[in-house]
Symmetry: C2
Subunit: 218 residues, 2 copies
Amino acid sequence: MRLATKQPVARPRRRGEAKAYFRAKLIEAAIEAIARHGFSGLSVSRLVEYSGLARGMVNLHFHRKDKLLHEVLKHLADSYRASWQAAVARAGGDAASQLWALIEHDVARKAHDDRALIAWLAFRQEAITNPSYRPLCDTREAAFFGTVKGLCAALIKEGGYEIKPDVAALGITFLLEGLWLDWSLDPHRYRPKVGRAVCEAYLAAIFPKHFGKRQRSA
Amino acid sequence: MRLATKQPVARPRRRGEAKAYFRAKLIEAAIEAIARHGFSGLSVSRLVEYSGLARGMVNLHFHRKDKLLHEVLKHLADSYRASWQAAVARAGGDAASQLWALIEHDVARKAHDDRALIAWLAFRQEAITNPSYRPLCDTREAAFFGTVKGLCAALIKEGGYEIKPDVAALGITFLLEGLWLDWSLDPHRYRPKVGRAVCEAYLAAIFPKHFGKRQRSA
DNA sequence: TTGCATTTCATGAATGATCGTTCATAGAAT
DNA sequence: ATTCTATGAACGATCATTCATGAAATGCAA
């Protein structure tokens, strides 16, 4: 199965540009291969097949396959963080809108960015037995969780709710991750409406003054 | 690293018994190896190392490594189901007690059965790219979700709540799975109290008449 | 029971395939 | 002319699997 044409496609000829181009191409191919065949399915041969580049490129640009994998994880973590942070930034200034934007972003994303999400899950699983991946999985988690917790604390203060920020924030992140895990097993079956409804029900239950029965706006 | 002594340990000599004995030993070794080194870390060599058996045993008793893995997954699924079903059976006759028993079982289990849970997660991840594992992994289709949904429906009828059984049950399973995923990254950090608090807050929020502020009993 | 033939099981060296990595070489950019 | 880049054949390690060999359990005759 050939997935990238071997014919000399247009590519940067100048040295600095070519390097970035090939690195990006290998990272992209790695994500594709992991999404399709799982973490252990990412062999150098598969990388060659998916990228259309020469066999030696992995070691030339990343020294070891291991280094490439860490770059891939970093790429995934960075772009995911940028994505949800942008969603929060686009939302209104109030905590309720921002929290919902965060959730909506996560729910909707699963409908149109399969490969990166599945690859990210694969890294997360790998981090269980390979501690070197853990910092990147955890720090992203920390930033995400910190934001959720901060927003929950604001809502609790506003509404005078009894639930603790930690518990509320953990509930939200667990819901999203459970949703994610469930989605990953069969993306075809996934319906954003359902994921949205589950999160909405949770928010309405713990933050009734902010999310109960009200009409949200994008 | 030798993990099982090679010296002729006591083992069933009669043919039928020996077969079951060796199969169980290989399955146990596989769970250990997956928990320690991840799914792709389960090689035949590792299996030999962990079980102390001869190299040919895998193919003798399971024909192919692939078949062994399916037996391992079946073993994990069966014993997990038996475990939570027993917890429900031990609970009182009312839906609220049974639902809480189910949740408490899941929360507490993470504190004392590391290996099986991590191995189960590994299979779940593998099922994403290897569909043959999916039927046994899919909690949505499994008896677990059906039970949770049934209990939620009973509570909703009793309490006259507005939430739909599907949404409530999905929320609970997502919470438990998110909790699981979070736990797996660092079992050492896990505190049953926290997991329990998150689930309790959710139940109290959506089923206030059953779980609000009341004192639960084991 | 004992002795022997038969059947089944357990073993690990050997096999071919695939893994990640190296490096001599050709080619292109500077 | 010099330096850097790209290539892919070749390498040793490890993978899952096979199978000839010896050992042990079983069935049967006495």
